[in-house]
Each structure stands twice: as C-alpha cells, then as structure tokens.
C-alpha cells in the first residue's frame, strides 16, 4: 500500500517538539474545574488556624487557651508544649538550621506561629484564634542586619553555648551571636591585588530589597491519618512532593511507604512552596491526634508575612578594568538578611545559592565573593523567587556593576558589555568563581537585540531629550535599560547538589499502552508551567506517538518516580532529560520488536518520526502504534512482554540559559511615574520545546520582574511590623500596569542535555529586574546618578530626581 501521508504531515500529527501546542491544562483551569488544595473536602475534616505573634521579638510569658477551648466546635489548641514530647516543637530547615514550629518561649518575627487551633470549621477556628490569650514581654527588635551584627541582643539563644561560646553553624564558624555563616568563592588575595593595581575601579553598594513570590494560591495542606492502616496522606501546595515525603518521614518517624504526598493543581509557586512550614507539621500532628483529616490554608496576609520571602541582600561590589574597558577583576561582598531562622531553600553546599554566578556573561579572570548570613527579627525564608538559587541577586549585581563601571570609564554600557563577553569559542568556559558554563553565543544575541531596537537611534533620541529637559521643554527623561544575563539552572549534578542530603536528580517513568497511547510520570510538579503539554511533546518526538495520546502525571508520590520537584528552572533540564532518556529506552526496545516483526536484523531498521523502517526500503515499516500492540500481544523470542521504561537522570552539568534585554522608559521627574514604552526580550534557552509556552513564560517572568523593580517589597518599620501585608501595599501588577513585550530568540543548544534544552521559566525574571532598574538609573545618568536602590516606586524616583536637583 502506498503511503499517502507525507513525512511532514506525520511530523505535524505528533505535535512534538518545536510546535506551538495549546496547553492541555487550560481546559480545566479556564472552566474553573481545577483541583487545588482548598478544593479538597473529606468527610469529618477539621480546620487549623494559627494564633500569630503581633510582636517581632518578644518573650512568651503565658498562653491561656481556656476560653478558646470552651468555644463550641473547638477540638484542640496546640502549643509548643504539646509538640515537645513528640520532638516536633522545632523542625529542621532546608538550610541546616532549625526553626520553631510553634513559639518555644519566644517569638522572632511578626506573624510567627504561636498556637494552632483545630476546630470543626474555619469560622469557628478563626473565632477561637481571637480567644487565645497570649502574654508577651517585648524584647529589643533588630531589623537591620548591620545593626544585628553589632548588637548585644541575642536573637537565637539556642545557638549560643551556656558559657557564651558560639558553636559552629551548619556552614562553619560564626563571627557573632547573630551571624549565621560566611561563604566564600574565588581568590581573595589575587582579586585584591588585581583591583588595587587596576587602571580603573568602580565601587558601589546596592540593596536588593526583600520581596515575596506571592503566588495567587497561598500555601496550604490537608493531612489525613488513617489509623486503621497507619497510612498518612498529605495533600499540599508542594513544589517538591517527594522531598516533603522524605522530610515528613524523617521528622515524624512514620515509615516512608506509609506516607503518601500529593500535590494537586498548584496555583503558582515561584519558590514560595518549596520549603516546609509549621502549618504542615501542625496539620499532620492534629490529624494523627484526632484521627480525622485536618485542613490548613493560609490567607493572603499570612502568606506575605510568614512564608518564604525572597532577596534581602546588601551587595557591595568592586569591579576593575583597564583604561579601554577590559574587565580585570570583581569583588563582591554580601550581607544577607535571613530573618529569625535560616530557612533558605538552597542546595546544602550552597548557603548563598549560586550567587557565585555573579561574574555574569563576562570573561572576568579574577574574582572573589564572600557572603555573610545574618539573623534579624524578620520572617524566615530566602527562597528563589522565580529564579535559580540567588541567581536574580547575582545577575542584578553584575548588571548594575557593569553600568557603574561604564560611568566610571565614560563608556557606552552596550559597548562595555560587548568587549567583555565570553566569546563563543571559549565555551565550555570555566568561570573565576568555579562554574563551567556549558555553551553560549553572547555576541550574536547582543547584536541582534541592539539592532532590533535601533540602539544608536535610541541613544540619539535620549541625548536630544536631555537637551530638551535642560532647556525646559520637557519634564520627562528617557531611560534605556540594558541587560545581558547568564543564568545557571537545572540543579543539579548529584556530586555537588543536594537538599538535606537528597540528590537533585530527577526522573521519568513511561508506560506505553497496547493501543499506542501512553502515560508518563515524573518527579516534578507543574505549578502553571504547562508540564502536561511540554513533556508530552518531548516524548512525542522521542517515541513517535502523538502528544495528544500521552498523559503526563505528576505530584503523587505513590505513583510518580522519586524526584526533587519543580523550582530553579530544573524541570526541563533535569526531568526533561530523564523523559528523553526514558523515551530512548522505549525506542530501543521498540527497535528490536520492529526488527522481529519486519524479519530483519535490529541494525537494519531505523527510527523515522512515528515508525521504524527498514533501511533503504521505507515502504517496509512498523508504526510505533503497531509495535506497541505487538509488545504486549505477540510472543517475541528473547523479549519480555510490555513496553515500559524508567530513567533517573543525574545531569553532568548545570545549563546556562542567557538573554539580551532592552527596556525603554519615560520618567516623569515630578511625579516619579514611569511609562515603559518598549521592552524587548531575546532569550536563548537552547532547544525550544513549545514556543507558545516559552512566550507565556517570558511574559509572566517579565511581569514579576517589573513588579520587583518598580515597587514590590516586604517592608518593615523599626519595630519589625510588616508595612506591606496586603495587596493594597504589596504591588502585584495587573494588565493595566504591564507594557507590551516583544519577544525574540536565538538557539544555542546545551551540549550535554539529551535534547539541548536549557530551561526558560525564570530567565525573564532574572534578566528583567536589572533591565527595568538599569533603565531607571540610566535616565538620570546624564545628571550625575551612579546608582539608586530598588524598588523604583514613585516616591523613590522623585527622591532621586530631587537629590539631583531636578526640581529647581
């Protein structure tokens, strides 16, 4: 029979890699048919709610729950004293510290969990929270990490010996009772020498303010202990369900096979849902004690005030260069405010995450980085908000330092970048702070970006604007923001990446059904990234079955293979690789089956889109669908029935996506208002699996970047009160505030990844923040500004203009 379908049509029919496949998830989300944690309703389910501290630092003198317990419908009120016999009044953090589950004698931040009320419904629970009487004795509050490092006030008495000695922390010696760790990378002395002897040195201190990922869905869980079979089921907003299962097992003593963790649909994570929170522990304990399911869901204020802040880095840099702009050295010191407990979510060996990617896209021969972590009276967290571990901070730092150096050299900042980029022929490139960049072609991307926006034309327009401003013809300045970022994502190689000892590989398990459809399960969990769409596309191309015939399932630890979850743009680099590798195992077996069916030697057939064909005789073939059926239903000598595969992928290296961004904005110097006229984003994420999902990710990441750069912050007053605890003051942009984005790309595949993909979900955030910020700073460059701190909200921009004397 003649094949009437062309090869091209067969490729299209698969809906594989490279096509703009519509998101299969959206049907349920757009119809309001998602299944989130708060949608889970179980018979007899109780509700938990927290009594929280109004004080940032206080001793607890007494807790009286009698009035609450007297309220009809209140089942229990848990305090640290109730958890102590179980050893659960404190819990380990991901950063090697420990954290109070419920206040044990004192509180260290406003909103800290003091008591956990369990009641028949959430209304009764909320009433009972009001009735718990807590007597506090307030203590001096430290909200400034520099003050904290000098203060006599001890925040963590549990980390000071009885004789006043300071035991080492999880990351080595501590310098002060409020000090957590010092972490270093690079060559200290060599860097000092280079900088001391340089032609030109630029120095700047910048504060990357505290902010919050603020996913639309807050954190929550439902714990259900079945006392008959001894099995605990825990539904929750977990970005890493398997890691949660292991941690719950380790701290509760329940054997891991008796714990089933399920992440249902998750309404955004952005790092907020990586860690373990007191609400999870208390809900599990409450369910074990009561024998019925217990639900706990944060409200918006609780989410903003207590679970997982991001950033809060004070960064001081020195960058040196020759007279003609060739960078010779970089020194970076960070004072990192970690709040009351060190609950950062970083790989164990990296207490400051991958901050040591801070040499950026540039060939900087000598560099040194030191990070000091400090305790203060703020909420714990330190998560990677839409970025790989601390990469946003690193990229912001280097992209601001480049701008400051350009000012010092009186050079164009685009040209300064160009002459310092790592060249294409230098990859794989070993950076001064330790990483080996896998691939890149920065010059091509940069030139494409500058040409797309007519960079020279923009600079000419800007110069004219400055003249007009000086002549009194306009009150608006024009800023051109540039950024060339290099990310480090896909954590990561087990040899240097683990969290609490759990290696950061990932996994995929595939079952092909006899009729030629399939289910694949992964160790990751989508929170909106569209895994069910994209992973099916990878498999479609790898195994030749249509993406529409492949179900992707994640998030149930009883069925999914072990994996470390989704954050740090690791899903495609790690689980995506596992998916491709598992697909190739399927294909290898399919090849043997095809050869048998076609009565030729294994080596005489080759894979072609959706089938195996006899080499040189393409009319002789077996489709993957036919092979699947045969795999189950035909006795094939030497081959066991079935068509399944599993792959655990330990990546040989991280991946290094990069991009070139340009932002053009007009700034009203009188009101501080900003109008983003243009935003051009070129991303190189290696092989592109679904261009439409990439574009969506870029839009979302840029919007969160705009938020952070222009106003989104968690601010505290001197008493440690959170000033931005609602969405009135915490800036979450809407369509109104968001400009039109222009997206573009180049493709530099990762040489070590099975399909060459690098990850993209976080790139726009990482690159976007410095790009918006550089535009604001650039607008004032002609008037003598070197650097002004984010967030660039109206009053801070006004203040900058005011200090530069622009208000007459």
């Amino acid at each position: 029979m003649k094949d009437e379908v062309t090869r091209e049509e067969r490729v299209d029919a698969l809906g594989g890699m490279g096509c703009k496949r519509k998101r299969v998830e959206d049907a349920r989300f757009t119809q309001g048919k998602g299944n989130y944690v708060d949608d889970i309703k179980l018979p007899g389910m109780l509700f938990g709610d927290f009594v929280r501290s109004p004080y940032a630092h206080a001793r607890i003198k007494s807790i009286d729950a009698s009035a609450a317990l007297a309220l009809d419908g209140v089942i229990a009120v848990l305090t640290a004293d109730d958890l102590r016999p179980l050893g659960l009044h404190w819990m380990p953090t991901l950063a090697g510290d420990k954290q109070m589950v419920l206040a044990d004698g004192k509180v260290l931040f406003q909103g800290q969990e003091v008591a956990y009320v369990v009641a028949k419904d959430r209304y009764i629970a909320a009433d009972a929270v009001e009735l718990v009487e807590v007597e506090y004795e307030d203590l001096p509050v430290l909200v400034d990490p520099f003050e904290a490092m000098k203060s006599d006030v001890v925040l963590r008495e549990d980390l000071v010996g009885e004789d006043g000695s300071l035991p080492d922390g999880a990351h080595g010696p501590r310098k002060h009772h409020n000090h957590i760790f010092t972490w270093e990378a690079g060559e200290k002395e060599a860097t000092k020498q280079v900088i001391d002897n340089a032609d030109v040195v630029a120095t700047e201190t910048m504060y990357y303010h505290r902010t919050h990922p603020c996913p639309l869905e807050t954190c929550g869980c439902v714990a259900s202990m079945d006392k008959v079979n001894g099995k605990l089921t825990l539904w929750g907003t977990f970005q890493a369900p398997h890691a949660i299962r292991t941690v719950v097992s380790l701290i509760s003593g329940i054997e891991e096979h008796n714990i089933r963790v399920i992440s249902p649909d998750i309404g955004g994570g952005f790092g907020n849902k990586v860690g373990a929170y007191p609400g999870y522990v208390c809900s599990v304990v409450a369910s074990i004690v009561t024998g019925v399911p217990v639900k706990w869901v944060e409200d918006r204020m609780e989410n903003l005030m207590t679970t997982a802040f991001a950033r809060d880095y004070w960064m001081t840099g020195k960058i040196s260069a020759t007279k003609d702009g060739k960078i010779t050295g970089l020194d970076c010191h960070v004072t990192a405010d970690h709040g009351g407990f060190d609950a950062c979510a970083d790989p164990t060996k990296f207490p400051a995450g991958f901050m040591n990617i801070c040499t950026g896209s540039y060939d900087i021969p000598t560099a040194y980085l030191a990070v000091d972590g400090v305790y203060t009276n703020k909420a714990p967290g330190g998560v990677s908000y839409r970025c790989s571990f601390r990469v946003t901070e690193a990229v912001y730092f280097i992209e601001r330092m480049i701008e400051v150096l350009a000012i010092e050299l009186d050079m164009d900042a685009a040209e300064l970048r160009r002459i310092n980029f790592i060249r294409k022929d230098q990859f794989p490139y070993k950076a001064a702070l330790g990483w080996e960049y896998d691939s890149g072609d920065y010059h091509t991307a940069w030139d494409k970006a500058l040409k797309a926006v007519d960079y020279d034309g923009l600079r000419a327009e800007q110069a004219q604007r400055v003249e007009d401003f000086k002549a009194g013809k306009t009150r608006k300045l024009m800023g051109i923001g540039l950024t060339h970022f290099t990310e480090i994502v896909g954590a990561g190689p087990v040899k240097n990446c683990d969290i609490l000892g759990l290696g950061m590989f990932d996994s995929c398990e595939i079952r092909i059904h006899p009729t030629g459809s399939a289910i694949a399960r992964l160790g990751t969990i989508s929170q909106g990234q569209g895994h069910a769409t994209t992973f099916a596309q990878i498999l479609a191309t790898e195994i030749g079955l249509p993406a529409d015939s492949i179900t992707i399932e994640e998030g149930d630890t009883d069925t999914a293979p072990y994996g470390l979850g989704t954050y740090g743009s690791r899903s495609t680099p790690v689980a995506g690789a596992a998916t491709a590798m598992a697909g190739r195992k399927i294909r290898a077996k399919a090849q043997m089956i095809a050869a048998y069916l076609l009565e030729v030697h294994d080596d005489d057939v080759e894979f072609d889109v959706d089938r195996f064909v006899v080499k040189g005789a393409p009319e002789k073939f077996k489709t993957m669908k036919e092979i699947a059926f045969a795999a189950y239903n035909q006795a094939i000598p030497g081959i066991e029935p079935g068509l399944e595969a599993v792959s655990y992928y330990d990546p040989p290296n991280m991946t290094y996506p990069f991009g070139a961004y340009v932002c053009v904005m007009d700034i009203d110097v009188d009101t501080g208002e900003v109008d983003i006229r243009r935003f051009y984003a070129l991303d190189d994420c290696g092989t592109r699996i679904n261009p439409m999902i990439i574009e969506g990710q870029v839009h979302g990441g840029l919007t969160e970047a705009l938020a952070v750069a222009l106003g989104q912050e968690i601010a505290y007053d001197d008493m440690g009160n959170v000033k931005t605890g609602t969405l009135m003051d915490f800036f979450l942009p809407t369509a109104w505030e968001v400009p039109n984005y222009e997206t573009d790309h180049t493709v530099t595949p990762s040489p070590h990844h099975p399909i060459g993909a690098k990850g993209v979900g976080e790139s726009p955030h990482v690159g976007g923040v410095p790009c918006f910020s550089n535009a604001v700073n650039d607008a004032f460059r002609a008037f003598g500004l070197r650097h002004t701190h984010m967030p660039h909200d109206h009053w801070r921009i006004w203040k900058t203009a005011n200090q530069l004397g622009l208000h007459g």
Binding site: G672, M728, W798
Partner: protein, 284 residues
C-alpha cells in the same frame, strides 16, 4: 481574614432600615458596596453584630436631573455613573473621576453613598462632592435633614452623620465651565497618592469662579477656598496656578505612608493640582 459572626438584615425600605438601626444602635451598620466595611470586618477591625444590606431599598437607587440639579441615590454604583450619558453631559467630572476609581469589578459594586458616607480620606467622591458643593441627605428617626459636603467631614471616618442615620442621596447643581479630575496612584485599585478636583468658570478670558478640592492629603478631603480664590480674576496663567498651588499647600496636611514621605506628597499634590487646573481651564 474571616469576620466574626454577624446577623444579616436585608430590609425592603428605609423604614425597615431605620427600625434595625434603632433596635441595635451601635451594633448595627449599613452595607452599601462593601468595599470598605467588609475588609474591616474580615480584619476584625470593625465589629458589626448586625449588618444591614441596603441593596433591596429601591428608593436609594437612581440618577435624576431637574432644573439644573443632579440627584444621585446613595446606592448608585460608580459603574452606573460612568454609564449615564445624561449625567456625563451635565457633570462630566463625575464620569472622569469615577473612571479613576479602582477597576471595573470594584466599580460594579462601589456606590456613591458608601464612598461619601464612610469618611475614608482615601475615597475620591468626598473631595469631588466638596468641589461640586454637593448636599447630602440624611434620614434618621427624626426625619430627613441635609448637610453640605463641605461641612460633613470631621476627621478620618468621623462625619456629621449620626450613627442611626443613613445617607440616602447626594445632590448638586450641574457645574458650569470646565472641570478636571486628576489623580496620581501607584497602581490600579490604589487610593490616590494625590488627587485634585477642579471646576473653573471663564468669563472674557479671566476666571470668574473656581472650586478646588484635594483627596487623600489630610485626614479629610480638603476644599481649598484659598486655592480657588487665587485663580479668580486671573487669566489662569503660570503665576496664578503657582499661587493656587501655594494656597492649596497651606490647607493640606498629608501623612507619611507607603506612598511616600510628606515632602513627596506635597510636591505631587502641587503637580497634580497644576495639571488639573490647566485641563479644567482648557475646557472652560
């Protein structure tokens, strides 16, 4: 974010509303659009054992115009104000200001009555009503009385309305001349960093009447008589605008908050007022 338990009342007429108010006194509050009261209840900052929903009281609805006077029922929403072409013709500043209140979802629920009666200095309508020299009608056990918008606001959330009275409508003479409502805000849904309502009348090239009110720059809306006076008799040139701004700055008393320090707010107030005057004059 869960309110304490409360009784929900939904009377069909004002008699019913007043009866519940009389019975429960301080324990009862009326609910219009709910944008201020419900969050306060959820935060447990407002204790309202008896909530009286006004949405079934037909007499509180409707916009009507007679003999140059505009009457707007307390339960008229901002969306209804925006949609009413006749009102936009008679008092274009009503539509212009309403379009700057939050977003469409909020405006479908937010009412004129709630906005003016709550006494929140962040609300836009109180300053606008002062600019229009509006009159508020209050109904209580003793019957009906009226209070001028310019005499209604005493302090933040403190007004001339007694606890057992309900603000039932606002009315004002259709403004003559040109008007403008200018508002700076951080984002959609935010209260003003600074906002100005301006109505100017022009006669032979000079300003013959002026009314200026500022929003969220004191603990009450500020109708700045002096600012208006600075424009009257001038050609509303740069010097006159400067004088009006200076006069306005003498009347406001902004507080520092997350929108910025006092110095910035005063600067922004001046810029916003200058722009509003220029636009209103252009339209006069």
């Amino acid at each position: 974010m869960i309110p304490a338990a409360f009784e929900y009342h939904r009377p069909k007429d004002m008699e019913g509303v007043l009866a519940v108010l009389k019975e429960h006194g301080d324990d009862a509050r009326v609910l219009a659009g709910g944008h201020s009261l419900i969050p306060m209840m959820k935060l447990r900052m407002a204790d309202v054992p008896h909530l009286i929903d006004l949405q079934d009281v037909e007499t509180l609805r409707g916009i009507c115009m007679d003999a140059g006077t505009v009457h707007i029922g307390a339960m008229v929403t901002q969306a209804e104000i925006i949609a009413n072409d006749q009102l936009a013709q008679a008092a274009p500043i009503m539509r212009e200001a309403s379009l700057q209140i939050a977003d469409p979802q909020v405006r479908y629920m937010g009412t004129v009555g709630g906005n003016v009666a709550n006494g929140d200095p962040g609300n836009d309508m109180p300053g606008l009503m002062q600019c229009l020299d509006a009159t508020f009608t209050l109904v209580g056990e003793e019957g009906e009385r009226t209070v001028k918008a310019r005499e209604f606001y005493e302090a933040a959330y403190m007004t001339a309305r007694d606890d057992e009275e309900v603000l039932t409508s606002v009315s004002f003479a259709a403004p003559k001349g040109g008007s403008a409502y200018e508002k700076q805000k951080r984002k959609i849904g935010d209260y003003a960093t600074a906002a100005a309502a301006v109505i100017l009348e022009k006669s032979g090239g000079t300003c013959s009447a002026a009314s200026i009110a500022m929003t969220n720059l004191s603990d009450t809306p500020i109708w700045s008589e002096a600012a208006g006076a600075a424009l009257i008799g001038t050609a509303v040139d740069a010097a006159a605008i400067k004088a009006a701004v200076a006069a306005m700055l003498g009347d406001i008393d902004p507080a520092e908050d997350n929108r910025g320090p006092i110095e910035f707010k005063r600067h922004a107030a001046g810029v916003i007022l200058s722009r509003a005057i220029a636009r209103a004059w252009d339209r006069a």
